[in-house]
Each structure stands twice: as C-alpha cells, then as structure tokens.
C-alpha cells in the first residue's frame, strides 16, 4: 500500500510518541486549517497542555529533569556563526540559519529586538526541533561588537526528561553521581507539610525553619522535597492556594472583600487586591 508523504501526519505521530515519553512541552505548529488532520493536531496540542499540568504531580519521579542551555551566535542576517553542544543535540544539522529553527512569529520578535536598543528582557520563542515539533523556550538576546560588525547571542533554556539524555551524559552521570533527593524516604514529611500549608491558608507563610521545627524536621528536606514532589516552591504554592481560596470566596459568596483578605492571610485589603489582580488579571471587586 502506498501513502504519499504528509508532513502533518508525521508531526502527529512524533507528538504521540513524545507524549508517550512524558514530553509535554512539544507542540505541532498549525497556523491554517487544511483538513480534519489539522483538528487532530490541535486537539493533541491541547491534550499535551492538560497532561503537562496533571501528570508531573501524579508521578513525581518523572519530574526529575535536566536543564539544557542553548547558545547561538547569530549575525544580523540570521546566519548562525557558532553554537554550543546543547544546541546541536536539539536541532541536529539545521543550525545554519535562524529561519530554519524558528517560526515566523518568533523571527519577527527577534528582528524587533535586533532593531531596538533594549535587550534587557526575556522573550518566548518557538523553536523547530529535529523531529519537526515546536517547543516554546524562554530566550534572551544580547548584542556585542566583533571586528566592527554587530553580532548577537541568542540563549534559551529548556528542561528535558531523562529519556532524552544522551549516552554520553548518562555515562558521565554514572561515573560522577550526585546525591539525589530520596522522594520515597521523605514522602510522609512532605505530605505533612502539604496539609500544614492547606490548614494555614488564613495567615502569611511562616519562615521555613520555624515550620521545620514544628514538623520536627530540617528546612532542607522541606525545601527540596516539596519542590521535587509538587514542582514549585513552598512560598509560591502557599500564595497560589491562598489566592485560589480568595477567588472562590469572591465568586461564590457575598463575604466582604476586607473579610476575605483577612480570611486568606492578607494584611490589608489593598495588599489583597494587588496580589489578586497580579495573579488573576482582574480586581476582586470587578469579579463580582
């Protein structure tokens, strides 16, 4: 049986394989709807977004990842002059020109920054990987002069899961093992910390050493263990849960905003309103 080559079909199979390997950051680039296959591609992208939020918290062991740093030296005409080994692993042999590894929207952003004088900000760029899927990465561009011509450094970071590690890196890791945090040994104490935080949403977070004393453990176990299992810091988790509780009270009850501020551990109504607006994008008073 003969089937003609179909790029979108190939991308869909690559994304399904990526999802099966716990890689939830990759996406298919779809800017036009050409067939029902485009809809399948979009639904797979949306499924990846759902899995990304759900799966790491269920299987914390899979959350252990490796930070890959990409550095490209680029000329004004987008020609790539040089790159680090991390880039080579992601893009294979496509590293000649930025146009081959960035989508149109990202190229526009790069051009805007190259044309401007302001380089001190992060941008999200969509990179085309060797499997033809796209990955959004936080990136930064800086400029320097080299032999009277302008050259740009484009850097980006990405976490990759264990199964993407190269043989060389696995060997290096085996020869020089770092002591990893033992999740199974400390799971109970982190569960106690979780419940402690949820029981104390009506007050600001106490200093970690004080919480550690109350739970009869040490700060390092709490800080490292909580991050490993829940994927975020204790402070950001506690702040997020207090704001979610506040949101439910704002939307579902007639409780005065000043009382909600107190119930969710905010020192003043103005502090509460600022934090709410920053997190949800609307003032609590506008939410009713």
């Amino acid at each position: 049986m003969y089937f003609p080559n179909d790029k979108l079909f190939d991308q869909i199979t690559h994304l399904i394989t990526a999802l099966a390997n716990d890689e939830y950051d990759k996406r298919i680039k779809i800017n036009k709807l050409r067939s029902k296959l485009s809809t399948i591609g979009v639904l797979l992208n949306m499924l990846a977004g759902v899995l990304k939020l759900k799966v790491p918290s269920k299987i914390p062991e899979y959350d252990l990842s490796y930070l890959n740093h990409i550095i490209l030296i680029v000329e004004e005409n987008y020609q790539i002059k040089d790159y680090n080994t991390g880039s080579n692993g992601l893009f294979d042999n496509q590293l000649h020109n930025l146009e081959s590894i960035l989508d149109e929207e990202s190229l526009k952003k790069v051009q805007e920054i190259m044309d401007s004088t302001s380089f001190d900000r992060s941008i999200k760029l969509n990179y085309r990987l060797r499997d033809d899927l796209f990955l959004t990465m936080d990136s930064r561009i800086t400029k320097f002069e080299n032999n009277n011509s302008e050259v740009f450094i484009l850097s980006a970071v990405k976490t990759i899961s264990k199964n993407e590690w190269t043989k060389e890196k696995l060997l290096k890791k085996a020869l020089h093992p770092k002591r990893q945090f033992d999740i199974s040994k400390n799971k109970k104490i982190i569960d106690r910390l979780y419940h402690y935080l949820m029981d104390n949403l009506d007050s600001p977070l106490k200093p970690i050493p004080e919480i550690a004393r109350e739970l009869e453990t040490n700060s390092t176990v709490l800080i490292r263990g909580f991050k490993a299992i829940h994927g975020k810091t204790i402070a950001s988790f506690h702040r997020e849960k207090r704001l979610e509780k506040a949101r439910d009270l704002v939307l579902d009850t007639d409780t005065k905003l000043s009382n909600i501020a107190t119930l969710c551990g905010f020192g003043s109504l103005s502090h509460f309103s600022r934090a709410f607006k920053k997190h949800f994008g609307v003032n609590p008073s506008d939410s009713r």
């Binding site: 779809i30 800017n31 709807l33 029902k36 485009s38 809809t39 979009v42 639904l43 992208n45 949306m46 499924l47 977004g49 759902v50 990304k52 939020l53 929207e105 949101r247 939307l251 949800f280 994008g281 609307v282 506008d286 939410s287 009713r288």
Partner: protein, 127 residues
C-alpha cells in the same frame, strides 16, 4: 444604544441584552490574550452580568492556562455562555474546553446562531 469595544483579538458589543463576543482570526489563544480579552469585555458591561454569545469560529487553538482562566475568571459578570462553533474544528476544540476546563457558568456549544440566542434567552441580564 449599542455599546461596543474592539482590539486586535476580538470585538464585543451589547445588543438587545445579549453580549456578543466575536474573536478575530487567532492562531493561539494564550493566557495573556485571555486576560486582555476579559478586560475588554468588562469595559462595556458597567458591572452588569450578561448572557454571552461567544463566536469562536476563527480561533485555531488555545493554551490550557488560557482555557482554565476563561472558565473561572472569565465567567465573571456572565449569566450564561453560548459558544458559536463550526464543524469539525471549533466544535471539537470547544467540546474539549468544556470537558477539561469546566466553566463556572452554564455554557453550551451551538453551530446555529438562532438556537444559541434561544438558549441565552433563558438567562436574563443581572444588575
């Protein structure tokens, strides 16, 4: 009087006690755009809750964070939402949104604008 507002991502207006929300062609609805659009909608509502006819037919896809935001915070000052879609694309993505993000107000998917308006007629404006 028809109240109206518009930006690069959508046009909103109120007519016969229905808030019409029509998305411009959009490749990806991100959280940043979702926040921007909620602000646009609230700007014409004068603190009243409206039934909303939301025309999604030009949206290709949406980030999970954006869908969750629209389902929760995006439900403020909305008494019900009728999502106007087209088979197969936006009908599938809208159904995905309904089953994974679960909006806080009554929300249904329609391919027929008249049926959508009939559904919204059960949800009056809330002062």
């Amino acid at each position: 009087m028809i109240k109206r507002a518009q930006n690069n991502f959508a046009e909103v207006w109120i007519e016969n006690d229905i808030l019409y929300f029509v998305y411009a062609p959009l490749e990806n609805l991100s959280l940043k755009i979702a926040k921007n659009l909620l602000k646009l909608r609230l700007s014409i509502q004068n603190n009243k809750g409206y039934p909303i006819l939301c025309d999604l037919r030009e949206v290709i896809q949406a980030d999970k964070e954006a869908m969750d935001y629209l389902a929760k915070e995006g439900s403020v000052q909305a008494t019900a939402v009728a999502l106007l879609v087209q088979y197969p694309h936006t009908k599938s993505t809208a159904q995905f949104y309904l089953s994974t993000s679960i909006p806080k107000v009554d929300t249904e998917v329609f391919e027929d604008k008249l049926k959508a308006l009939e559904f919204l007629s059960n949800y009056p404006v809330k002062n």
